[in-house]
């Protein structure tokens, strides 16, 4: 029988979940937040998102070509990075700044370190931090006012104006207050969280622990439930805890590792917010913990079955 057969090492079955399907799930999970952002802040937010996503994908395409690497844009991870970056920016940011942030995130943070899965820092966060350093205050959305269908007349983010006029609970949940495009609408972010849990893309550990510990620490320090709630529901905590602190490449893999990571993130966030005079510590906190991830991974490695501790 003259039959050319395929030969390969087992297994010969593969689960349907692929890198691409996971990234698609993350994009779908970000959809409510994206829609809410556009509704709250107006169509210009679409431009910010388009530029960020467009330049992320484009720079990955060009980088792969120039570095003669296999093409990876089809895995959709660049789309996720671009989307996340846009959602952490204010709507009135200059579009050329967005483009530079996206290029930095993809080329420097991801590409130079070997591409998907190899980077030690979250590209979107690092891109944003780079923009904070390079372009200053405009990135931090401190005093931004929305121009969407919803009237967001608050003149400062809840974190910035905490002392003067606490933002109402409804505003915090719906996101009708100043802030970055994707960080304001807590309800939309929670929808995305539930979706990711159902699709088993992430586990509950990191987001729940991160947010809970920030809330508890703030409560402990301020002794005021409303302040603690406002602190927890603004300043990018939800989007950071749900979508950034759960990034596979840059965060621990095992449950206890995730818990340690989340506690670390929460403590650093609160320290920066309370004592560092920076309104949003979430980005820096996650970034710092990203650096510790390899060590946390090692500490929390499973004991082989029947092996010594």
């Amino acid at each position: 029988m003259d039959k050319k057969l395929h030969i390969s090492v087992s297994p010969h079955f593969h689960a349907k979940v692929t890198t691409q399907s996971i990234m698609l799930d993350v994009i779908l999970a970000l959809l409510p937040t994206t829609i809410a952002g556009v509704l709250i802040f107006g169509v210009r937010s679409l431009a910010v998102i388009a530029v960020s996503v467009g330049f992320s994908v484009l720079s990955e395409f060009v980088f792969n070509k120039l570095a003669k690497k296999p093409m990876t844009i089809q895995d959709l991870s660049a789309v996720v990075t671009g989307l996340l970056l846009a959602l952490t920016l204010p709507v009135n940011i200059a579009l050329w700044e967005v483009a530079i942030g996206a290029i930095f995130a993809i080329v420097v943070v991801k590409g130079f370190f070997g591409g998907i899965g190899q980077n030690f820092a979250n590209p979107a966060i690092t891109g944003r931090v780079f923009m904070l350093v390079a372009f200053g205050d405009v990135v931090s959305a401190k005093s931004f006012v929305g121009k969407g269908i919803v009237d967001t007349t608050a003149s400062a983010t809840p974190l910035a104006n905490m002392a003067t006029a606490p933002t109402s609970m409804i505003d915090l949940l719906l996101g009708t207050h100043a802030g970055a495009i994707g960080e304001v609408c807590t309800v939309a972010l929670l929808l995305g969280f539930v979706y990711l849990l159902i699709k088993k893309v992430i586990t509950f550990h990191t987001p729940v622990v991160f947010i809970a510990v920030v809330f508890l620490l703030t409560l402990l320090i301020t002794k005021d439930v409303n302040t603690a709630l406002a602190y927890s529901m603004s300043g990018g905590l939800f989007i950071g805890a749900i979508f950034m602190a759960t990034d596979y490449a840059t965060t621990p893999t095992r449950p206890w590792g995730k818990v340690i990571f989340a506690v670390g993130c929460a403590v650093i966030t609160v320290l920066i917010r309370m004592y560092g005079n920076l309104p949003e510590g979430v980005s820096y906190a996650i970034l710092l913990m990203n650096i510790l991830t390899p060590y946390i991974d090692k500490w929390t490695e499973d004991k082989p079955f029947g092996g010594e501790a």
Binding site: M1, S10, T72, T253, K303, F305
Partner: protein, 443 residues
């Protein structure tokens, strides 16, 4: 019992679960490799021109860890040849032309079994090896010397691989053999407690076994969750007895003997009839198969001839496996690939399914580690292998990887993790050998 949550939800495809095996017509020839088991290859005792009958010894056991081989047909030895086997190496093989008569060897008679030693001797002569897939000579495994070491006999009837139902059929069609085997084990190996582990997706087999053993208080049928790989030796021990076999140790070190259910039934049959292991229940299924089924197929029958008999169109087949899709071994050439002693299924995959999805970069998602039944940090093993870090590979205990394929199955990047683990085991073995050589030099 708290079952381990690890493993993967693989598709079951137990299409043939209610199909009683049908005897395949006598093949025109048999190709019998001398090495169908773990251990030393058997030594041929026939030469071209010799006449053999059904049950005639063709190759004798060549040492303490080896196994004899018998003919499944009557006919004439044509030649002794070298064939390429599925791992790429070459192996001697005996080619027998069948005369179609199926005359049974006149010397076949039930062995005289009176005690432990004669029981082990009988198992040795039966030619039976681990039929669940491992192919380790069963007599060697059962020869524990001191039977008081055995606290539990675990009968592995998990049959967790997709498609395969040959063990299921053994339990249903040959339940009496299983019962007799348990009696033999109770009598000669002094087994006091028997646990039969069956995956929940085989309700009929579970019911049958429960009925058969309802009067034997020593026997418990354990319904295992249908999470792959329940049949992995250490997993089934944990999920039936609750015991954990220490890494690097054997089941008997925790008082367990694990035996596949078809292996058990075959032992009973040999002791009742004296007919050694010459044929197998084989599930024929897979995405290239239109009419799946179970067949009784002689050991040595070529896959190419099976395909002719079953009218399987080679053009529609892209990949052929000994066994199922999770641990099955890819067959390189159909003309030189016979049914082996430990073949319990042949899976025919369509051209479309035959191509493995392309591997992309590891995204550090942790799915491999999360699901590994051996609790290994598989992505770290892959990293250490890439860096050729033998010490780290040893620390990560790649040696206890059972090559079940769960990690590769769940990997969204389709990393060839099992392949890397196999290679990594070699790296660790080299390291240990080097260290031993150094030790020896010092002395």
């Amino acid at each position: 019992m708290r079952f381990s949550k690890r493993g993967a939800h693989v598709p079951h495809h137990k299409n043939t679960a209610d199909m009683t095996p049908i005897r395949m017509d006598v093949p025109s020839q048999l190709l019998i490799p001398v090495s169908m088991h773990i251990g030393r290859p058997a030594t041929p005792v026939v030469k071209p021109g010799d006449h053999v009958d059904v049950g005639t010894l063709i190759c004798e056991s060549s040492g303490p860890v080896s196994s004899p081989i018998y003919s499944a047909v009557s006919g004439t030895v044509k030649k002794l040849d070298n064939i390429r086997v599925s791992n790429g190496s070459f192996c001697q093989a005996v080619l027998i032309e069948s005369d179609g008569q199926q005359t049974v060897d006149a010397n076949i008679k039930p062995p005289v079994v009176t005690d432990y030693a004669s029981f082990i001797e009988a198992v040795k002569n039966s030619g039976i090896v681990g039929l669940g897939g491992a192919g380790f000579p069963t007599a060697v495994k059962l020869d524990v010397k001191d039977t008081s070491r055995i606290q539990e006999l675990v009968i592995n009837a998990a049959e967790c691989e997709p498609y395969i139902t040959s063990d299921t059929r053994t339990m249903i069609d040959d339940a009496q053999d299983v019962v007799d085997a348990v009696k033999l084990f109770e009598q000669y190996l002094n087994v006091k407690k028997v646990l039969i582990g069956i995956e929940a997706n085989k309700p009929e087999a579970i019911k049958k076994m429960q009925e058969c053993f309802k009067d034997d208080s020593a026997v418990t049928v354990v319904t295992l969750p249908s999470v792959y790989p329940q049949g992995a030796e250490k997993v089934i021990i944990k999920n039936t007895t609750g015991k954990v076999v220490p890494a690097g140790k054997l089941p008997i070190d925790v008082g367990c003997v694990v035996c596949n259910v078809t292996t058990m039934a075959s032992i009973a049959r040999y002791i009742k009839t004296g007919m050694p292991l010459v044929e197998k229940y084989v599930t024929i299924d897979g995405s290239a198969i239109k009419k799946p089924g179970n067949y009784i197929i002689p050991v040595g029958m070529l896959i190419s001839e099976i395909m002719e008999r079953l009218e399987i169109n080679p053009d529609e087949v892209g990949k052929v496996l000994y066994g199922g899709p999770m641990m099955g071994i890819s067959v390189p050439e159909l003309d030189s690939a016979p049914v082996l002693k430990n073949t319990n299924a042949i899976t025919f995959m369509s051209e479309k399914d035959a191509v493995s999805p392309e591997a992309t970069q590891c995204i550090h998602c942790g799915r491999c580690a999360e699901n590994c039944p051996m609790h290994l940090t598989t992505f770290a093993i892959a990293r250490a292998y890439a860096k050729n870090d033998a010490e780290e590979l040893r620390r990560l205990r790649v040696d206890i990887c059972c090559e079940c394929g769960t990690c590769s199955f769940v990997c969204p990047a389709n990393r060839p993790l099992v392949e890397v683990n196999k290679l990594s085991k070699g790296v660790v073995r080299d390291l240990i050998a080097k260290e031993k050589a150094k030790e020896a030099e010092k002395k």
